[in-house]
Symmetry: C2
Subunit: 353 residues, 2 copies
């Protein structure tokens, strides 16, 4: 897709701004690893606090930190804090709250609750140092995505993932920061590559004719699958069911049929690729269509159509894997006559309570 092609939607423009947003974020946050390490010293578990897209980012952080930094992670249920008003022992826990705006009251309140329960507190937000969430945390990692105007989050999501990669490094993950620095270029190449225009068009055409789709992925890539599912629900009103690889095998694979295709997301390498390829093969053998995102030649060989993923190592792949999904969401919304910038029922900062 040529760099300046695409529709005139804000969402499409913001998708294109991701290389610059990632570059600025990584440059700003990588030097802060020592500060985060100091905050986390003596903690043994990480509690993520987020909703919606930010919760999907937390899923990435959760896999990354367990797989590579050896700490237990948990995803908070904010209602425990805000509705049950329970007291939970969080001594030895690093609480990490994610909110694009930094203004979602429920998230700020849950981080304050975590602090009162004994946790150390870190914020990841695009709302700046003066946002309520940043002010509520001991340390704030501010992403540098700039103003995001389209309702569906794009660059604020991928920069959250980059911040989480910095967190993993700060927690001692033996991974190469140089690989993180290479992410903006990889996303730029993905956006610039012309190869997938035809593939994208085919997948858009297929999804425009169905009511539902299953989106699946395993390990790190699961976060990108969940995020694509939320995008397709909120901007295209598709019945998009985000299911983990194993959960799909453990039952609901029945829901995949001739009218309900699967989208399968995978990094080009890593320990979860083989299983993901098997899953896609099982879907097509059952008579349904499987659309791949990423997964290299192995996934492409068993899928109906595949959109190329980023040239990134598995631990960073989700940052690029969501990009074809964003392009797909934007193009499908327009095909369906929906303005991707302002789908029904949504506003940019959501308050739960």
């Amino acid at each position: 897709m040529a760099r300046n092609a695409g529709g005139s939607s804000l969402m499409r423009q913001e998708i294109g701004q991701q290389p610059a947003a990632l570059r600025a974020t990584i440059e700003a946050l990588l030097p802060r690893r020592a500060e985060v390490s100091a905050l986390a010293a003596g903690t043994r578990a990480v509690l993520f606090i987020g909703r919606g897209t930010s919760d999907n980012a937390a899923v990435y952080g959760s896999y990354l930190i367990q797989a590579h930094a050896g700490r237990l992670t948990a995803l908070a249920a904010p209602s425990i804090a805000t509705t049950y008003r329970a007291r939970v022992d969080l001594d030895g826990v690093l609480a990490v709250a994610l909110s694009q705006s930094g203004r979602t009251e429920e998230i700020v309140e849950t981080l304050e609750w975590a602090s009162a329960c004994g946790a150390r507190t870190l914020a990841i937000t695009n709302g700046g140092e003066s946002s309520p969430l940043a002010l509520a945390a001991s340390v704030a990692l501010c992403t540098q995505a700039g103003v995001e105007r389209a309702v569906p989050a794009t660059k604020t999501f991928t920069t959250q993932l980059a911040a989480l990669a910095v967190l993993a490094l700060a927690l001692g993950a033996p991974l190469d920061p140089g690989e993180l620095r290479a992410v903006p270029d990889a996303v730029e190449s993905l956006l610039a590559g012309p190869a997938d225009v035809a593939g994208l068009e085919r997948v858009v055409g297929a999804l425009a004719k169905v009511r539902g789709v299953v989106v699946s992925g395993r390990g790190m890539a699961y976060a990108a699958a969940l995020e694509l599912a939320i995008k397709l629900k909120e901007a295209c009103y598709l019945h998009a069911m985000g299911l983990s690889y194993a959960d799909l095998l453990h039952g609901p694979i029945a829901v995949v049929d001739a009218e309900t295709p699967a989208i399968v997301v995978a990094a080009d390498s890593g320990p979860t690729l083989a299983g993901t390829v098997d899953l896609a093969r099982r879907v097509t053998e059952a008579g349904a269509r499987a659309f791949g995102i990423g997964g290299g030649a192995a996934l492409a060989a068993v899928c109906t159509t595949t959109l190329a993923g980023p040239a990134l190592p598995e631990w960073l792949a989700p940052i690029g894997l969501i990009v074809p999904g964003q392009l797909l969401t934007e193009a499908l919304a327009r095909r369906l006559g929906i303005n991707p910038d302002s789908p029904r029922g949504l506003s940019k900062v959501t308050q739960t309570d």
Copy 2:
């Protein structure tokens, strides 16, 4: 619904066996609280390990233990153990593995991994003391559901929830064991009550005409919503999207429309009821239908049709709230010409790897 009415499906019979299964399970497990307390002594967090329906049970355990026993809980990603083969610091953690059969290799392997990482280990299984999962754990709480022959789990799920209620009591939750002992009678009353035949028929009729549905609930009740969503996917091939209350508000409420109703699950009382009523009102105000399960008069007042829930306190309500959902799934499958006992693509014990 008269106690012996309903179709001749195994699933319908097993739904009806739940009062006896719960009675036997509670009788067997309540006396073992001290043993579980001793196992958990000195631990500060609980890591649940499960897949599919067992993972939905873990969601109940997670809310229950955080809200009432003051401990951090996490849901394990088995691939961290079985695919990434990561080493995570689980000192001070009680690992609780759930598997109906006790024979799902991935779950057994993940519990063994947790033990090697320093966790204490508890199994909750219907597979008996000699099942691989029970043998792998320091303590096994064996549910007494008897043989379950229909593929969609019913009595093995509700007895898992009962075992988790025993766990919460063993971890010091200041709740009344007498209320747990009253659960089988409450489920029996729900199954015996004739009031909801017409309501069930209306909801079945409505769902038979749609492709997708959103299932939502908040707090404890969220587990019942997730479980209903998996049932509707696996036995009725519906595009059933299980979404938490807040996640639905934070975006994908756009997916609810005239052709995509919502099912909203709530206890008759408790701190999450008011928010759930607001959610259902928002759905109907948006022009979509909201079908309630439980939630008493408050939820019924804002829903298109409501199925009565159990007369149980909020902490135990999910054990009864899934029952109207099971009846709905069984009746809808038959209406759609599907044999609920053996939906496509499923077998009773699933191996992921």
